[in-house]
């Protein structure tokens, strides 16, 4: 078929461009604007070049927050992904129990993030919380407001409780799409349970699992609400992750320049990691053929 060339067709893209400009490009550019200038209010700006970037990069505070952030994301991925897969493998395949399980598992996903934070903040309190009080009675020295380890454990357990279902549901969807013939063939071939997992279930789940890992990475890397509600970044700076630090810097200290530089770098890190995931995923798809 002959291709018709009509430059007016560009107008069809215009609405999307306008929308994206207002929702993403313009806000981002204001941040860029702040990051290269200094201001003392009254809309007076002075050119600062890359000074803010240099300052943030030289500041140990950002590096510490980044380190905590990486450890946090790493730990929750290392727990949630295998646990989610394990749960998916053990979920019923058919019958009434399927719906019961699915609904029960979706519940944590439906709770607003600040409510999740509040639930765990109260749950862990030593004076009135079910968990805190129980541990106290059992003689365990637990106090998430004062002990660094306790604060971390609380946040990690909370995140696992909140988000493992997502991984499990995605993995379950992947498992459900495997035709029965694969399991039957494996039985004929006398494959062990491990071989079935390694050579049938895992390869077939790989696609959705990558999506689960990507989602969990991005979400945990940007986590703000829950730790802010539970620990407020404390004790000390023990649970001050990147976003909490950023908010402190921008809204607490009103250091707009450094905060803008900080957020641009934060954004680039997430963009880069997501791009790596995306590339890996599309490569997986290509190898898989159909």
């Amino acid at each position: 078929m002959e291709k018709t060339i009509n430059q007016k067709a560009w107008f069809l893209v215009l609405p999307v461009l306008v929308l994206v400009a207002f929702s993403a490009v313009i806000p981002l550019m204001t941040v860029v604007n702040y990051s290269v200038q200094d201001t003392f209010g009254q809309n007076q700006f002075f050119w600062a070049g890359l000074d803010w970037f240099r300052q943030v990069l030289e500041d140990e505070r950002m590096w510490n927050a980044l380190q905590r952030q990486v450890i946090f994301s790493g730990v929750i991925l290392a727990i949630e992904v295998p646990l989610g897969v394990l749960i998916a493998l053990n979920m019923p395949k058919r019958g009434v129990m399927v719906s019961v399980c699915l609904v029960l598992m979706s519940l944590p996903l439906l709770i607003p993030w600040n409510v999740v934070g509040t639930i765990w903040q109260i749950f862990g309190r030593v004076d009135i919380g079910l968990l805190g009080r129980t541990l106290d009675v059992l003689g365990v020295d637990y106090n998430y407001t004062q002990d660094t380890i306790d604060a971390w454990v609380t946040l990690i357990v909370m995140d696992v409780w909140h988000w493992t279902s997502l991984v499990a549901l995605l993995a379950y969807a992947g498992l459900k799409s495997i035709p029965d013939a694969y399991y039957q063939a494996a039985r004929i071939d006398q494959a062990s349970r491990w071989a079935v997992f390694r050579h049938i279930e895992l390869p077939k789940m790989m696609g959705v699992l990558m999506i689960a890992i990507l989602l969990r990475f991005m979400d945990s890397f940007m986590i703000y609400t829950e730790p802010f509600v539970v620990t407020g970044g404390g004790p000390g700076n023990a649970t001050t992750f990147l976003s909490i630090d950023l908010v402190k810097m921008a809204l607490g200290q009103f250091d707009l320049g450094p905060a803008a530089a900080f957020s641009i770098m934060y954004f680039l890190v997430i963009l880069a990691v997501s791009w790596v995931f995306y590339t890996v995923m599309t490569n997986l798809d290509k190898q898989g053929g159909k």
């Binding site: 694969y182 039957q184 004929i188 071939d189 050579h199 895992l202």
Partner: protein
């Protein structure tokens, strides 16, 4: 290797089957002879795959027993039965190479490395994939994958039986013919008991020594291709096998004559008046056109190469006749003659044996 006995076997997918229709597989007694090649033929949903999965142990039957030789294996798991089965759609292990795929069943059973290597080589040669042995199975075409599945089914030499569940559905026609020939050769060479499920009569008739025809959860006839053609035991066999299928006409039968809508049709044997719904059946190959027999009109003539098929109308009932290639089709007052010795009588769809008939007594 062993003969496989099905004893009072039946299966229902419902926990509490009530009526006839609830049984996917109706009560069945059958012995699969050791080392024979069977085709299990029937339309989709007639219970073929159910029967196959019960034999391989993927399904536990609702009632009855399965014996391999003299051993009751009804409660044994698939792995213990030492059966190979190939499925309709290709099953390959994506993460493995073609070689690892073929070696997998042997490796799982702890065979020696040297033996595995020679077997894999032999099978690869048979399915024509020697050149691709070290490729990853992922990304191969559907028919290459299915060839791997077939190869995995055949790689073990000591299996009790080889079961094929419509294995050539995804293979292109030329390769289909070649693989079927390979399977037959394999059967001649090793003498495995083979059961080949298909809904394609050509496939069934060319592959098997004996064809088992299933209809509606029931085995309706077991026989050689000739027996199925000449003496269909059930009207389903009559119309399912043959192209076109058998002509069936409602009739009243008494003695050596059938009455079809007031016309007499001579029969090859003598019958007591059978009960139930009585029909006579005759294959189109034994219907000839001339000036004696049933009055018909021609609706269409189809040229199918070696012969022609006349689509006829006999008082509102469709009839088919196979005509020799160059036979002239007479015009008015056309009559169809049914060769008496080729006419079978059916009562409620089941074939009635004539009381006297020279060739059947022999």
């Amino acid at each position: 290797m062993a003969k496989i006995t099905l004893d009072n076997l039946a299966h229902s997918y419902l926990p509490a089957p009530a009526g006839e229709e609830d049984w996917a597989l109706k009560e069945l007694n059958h012995v699969w002879g050791d080392g024979e090649a069977y085709a299990l033929l029937g339309a989709s949903g007639c219970g073929k795959s159910t029967l196959l999965n019960i034999i391989s142990g993927l399904l536990h039957p609702s009632q009855g027993r399965i014996l391999f030789g003299d051993e009751d294996v009804t409660d044994q798991p698939t792995a213990a039965r030492n059966i190979a089965q190939v499925f309709q759609f290709p099953v390959v292990y994506d993460t493995m190479t073609v070689r690892e795929n073929l070696a997998f069943p042997l490796k799982n059973r702890g065979a020696e490395a040297g033996y595995i290597a020679t077997r894999v080589q032999a099978i690869a040669q048979m399915i024509g994939m020697e050149d691709t042995l070290d490729r990853k199975a992922r990304g191969l075409t559907a028919d290459a994958k299915q060839k791997i599945s077939l190869g995995r089914g055949m790689v073990r030499e000591d299996v009790n039986a080889l079961l094929f569940d419509e294995p050539l559905t995804v293979i292109d026609p030329h390769m289909k013919w070649e693989l079927r020939t390979q399977l037959k050769a394999l059967h001649h060479e090793f003498g495995h008991t083979m059961i080949y499920v298909t809904h394609d009569q050509t496939e069934a008739l060319t592959f098997a020594d004996k064809v088992v025809v299933m209809h509606d959860g029931r085995v309706v006839q077991v026989g050689t291709p000739e027996e199925l053609f000449e003496r269909p035991a059930h009207t389903f066999v009559g119309y399912f096998i043959g192209s076109p299928g058998m002509n069936l006409l409602d009739a009243e039968v008494a003695g050596k004559v059938a009455h079809v809508a007031g016309h007499e049709v001579p029969l090859g044997g003598t019958y007591d008046a059978p009960g139930g719904r009585v029909q006579i059946g005759v294959r189109p190959e034994f219907v000839s056109l001339g000036d004696a027999g049933l009055p018909v009109t021609v609706t269409r003539i189809e040229d199918v190469g070696r012969h022609r098929i006349a689509r006829l109308d006999f008082e509102g009932t469709a009839l088919n006749a196979v005509l020799p290639e160059d036979a002239a089709v007479p015009g008015d007052n056309l009559r169809a003659r049914l060769a008496p010795e080729a006419v079978s009588v059916y009562s409620d769809d089941w074939r009635v044996t004539p009381q006297s008939r020279s060739e059947e007594a022999a």
